[in-house]
Symmetry: C2
Subunit: 392 residues, 2 copies
Amino acid sequence: MNNFEFYNPTKVIFGKRTEEEVGKEIQDRGFKKVLIHFGGTYLYENGTLDRVHKSLSDCGIGYVDLGGVVPNPRLGLVKEGIQLCRKEGIDFILAIGGGSPIDSAKGIAYGLANDFDVEDLLMGRFTTNRIAPLGCISTIAATGSETSNSMVITIEEGMLKRSYNHDCARPLFAIMNPELTYTLPPYQTASGATDIMMHTMERYFTNTEHVELIDRMAEGLLVSVREAALLAIKEPDNYNARADLMWAGSLSHNGLTGTGRVSDFASHKIEHEMGGMFDVAHGAGLCAIWGSWARYVYKVNPARFAQFAVNVFDVPMDFHDLEGTALKGIEAWEDWCRRLGMPTSMTELGIQPTEGQIEEMAEKCVATGGGHVGFFKTLYKDDVINIYHMAE
Amino acid sequence: MNNFEFYNPTKVIFGKRTEEEVGKEIQDRGFKKVLIHFGGTYLYENGTLDRVHKSLSDCGIGYVDLGGVVPNPRLGLVKEGIQLCRKEGIDFILAIGGGSPIDSAKGIAYGLANDFDVEDLLMGRFTTNRIAPLGCISTIAATGSETSNSMVITIEEGMLKRSYNHDCARPLFAIMNPELTYTLPPYQTASGATDIMMHTMERYFTNTEHVELIDRMAEGLLVSVREAALLAIKEPDNYNARADLMWAGSLSHNGLTGTGRVSDFASHKIEHEMGGMFDVAHGAGLCAIWGSWARYVYKVNPARFAQFAVNVFDVPMDFHDLEGTALKGIEAWEDWCRRLGMPTSMTELGIQPTEGQIEEMAEKCVATGGGHVGFFKTLYKDDVINIYHMAE
């Protein structure tokens, strides 16, 4: 086990009707005027926004709404939000939604607390440990951004999808009501569930040895999400399936499943370039890539892939064929993706990048990492090109 | 799954030589003078205290040492610590050791921040959300007090072992170096490991339904601790076994494994009275009690005990005999305790309470809970007496 730090101060308020507690949480912290930041109009339609407005008003807290966040949230709206906050004297940012509005809110909060442009933060020209106070109401079980230290924003010019990670970006509180995810369409439910699996899998596939405790806990999480995802697709208003997905979403990306080990995250970076160029749902993009990444790298450590096969997907261990067992685990993952209606190739995802586009994505993918990406197996530009081709 | 809150802001700094970072952690937070609070003289002998002194001095931080904490820490030393802090102008409390010095430090920190006596807090005559700043260096994998919200102190008069739990008591940071646990004698190592298991088991044995995610993660933790404990007894300087125990100690008692469910904690309360009266090692006391508690209550929910047997102790499921499978799990736990050198009865623990003492312990046990204890099965005074007799 490697040395590590683990810091996860976000207060989680989880369960039925918990969005009605938002006013009290903000009042307890002494804030007066809130920017409510969100994406889809479904929050108007299902009454969530009304309940949040009422909770804030009941606590004497003012608010301004800023909707319009799109998947793969854009820098332009972040800049608009910063200007609006300054004009309106906002002292607290409240995101409602999934990873996109939460990340967009983090962008606004960084902008408010610093005197440089958020683009400079995303492009690595500045770093900071300062951010304006923010909290969130999560309505999608997926990214875990509600408790994570990460933010991913797309810069429109060149459609560059870039991230900045700092512990200061962990929200002060995260309100999670699984009921709010009932109306999520099956494709988004599945895309969220696969993203949750992948956040733990990016940490699970490691060459760090002697990490049994977190391996066992991660496998427990993965098995639960595997089952809860299938159930949530079949019964969209199954509270317990939705609750397992939602809590697993946070536990997959709050750092716990990465403690004591080197994480990989190559698949995420390979997908990020697709998301930037083609605007695909993140989880679906990961599904289209992961099997190809796995087949490209599994020989580095077939035992770990076999462990995944046996302990997460109940593949019978073939004691005479470790690599065969490993490959059956990759197939089991792809079968599970298909049962969820998720793609296992770029064609199934609905994109067919040209040779030039593949070259461009691979170039961008390795650029910020000094010419390579991933830790399970170090991948250079040509490796990434090979993986994109395998995933066609 | 039930509604829940989860708040665990303690920064964990985990790994080899991390105690040398203590000065920086305190300096970063702006504190100037530290009370170093601990128990055994082994901290002098193994050089830990020297390294902590040096780290503080290197950062220009003053300090005063206060040793002498005993297992089942006493209120008297807490009061002495409060007076010393006031006299010396201390602004930060640093505990070094296991649950006893950390809980004693929490008592001192409560005393410094409030104008009532800590005894009143323990006896339920006051509540508070105020505590002086504290951090810790954990040297024993056991109670998880290094990240928990709980404090257990023994009031000398009547040897009353009493607790107070509040989120404000979670330390600002917890430094954990598994190497510092190498010299712990086998009995203490085993007692710590069983306490870790029990912190998760007290939460695992619940009648709350549909808690699959945390069940799977908890089972993963329990299986890891089961193996790591045996290995640490056999090879005291096995870093990875010690590291698994240490990290599992925090994860078992930081609230995670109790999210979304009603916890039990009857065994802890039954043991606390033994600990108060006979001064036994806490984990050993739990081992002496748990099998009897389990046999007394398992018929309330034999399926959950069978799940424990199969998923934690690899007992083969007898599909025709759920109760038989459940009982085999209890036996497997007791076998594991014996392999660790832990007792499974009060006689093996070395105590033989009289009928009057059993009556007195049972009376005290249920007194603070309004005449009963536990949630898996509600236990009244006579039930507790029955369990003590079963455990003789």
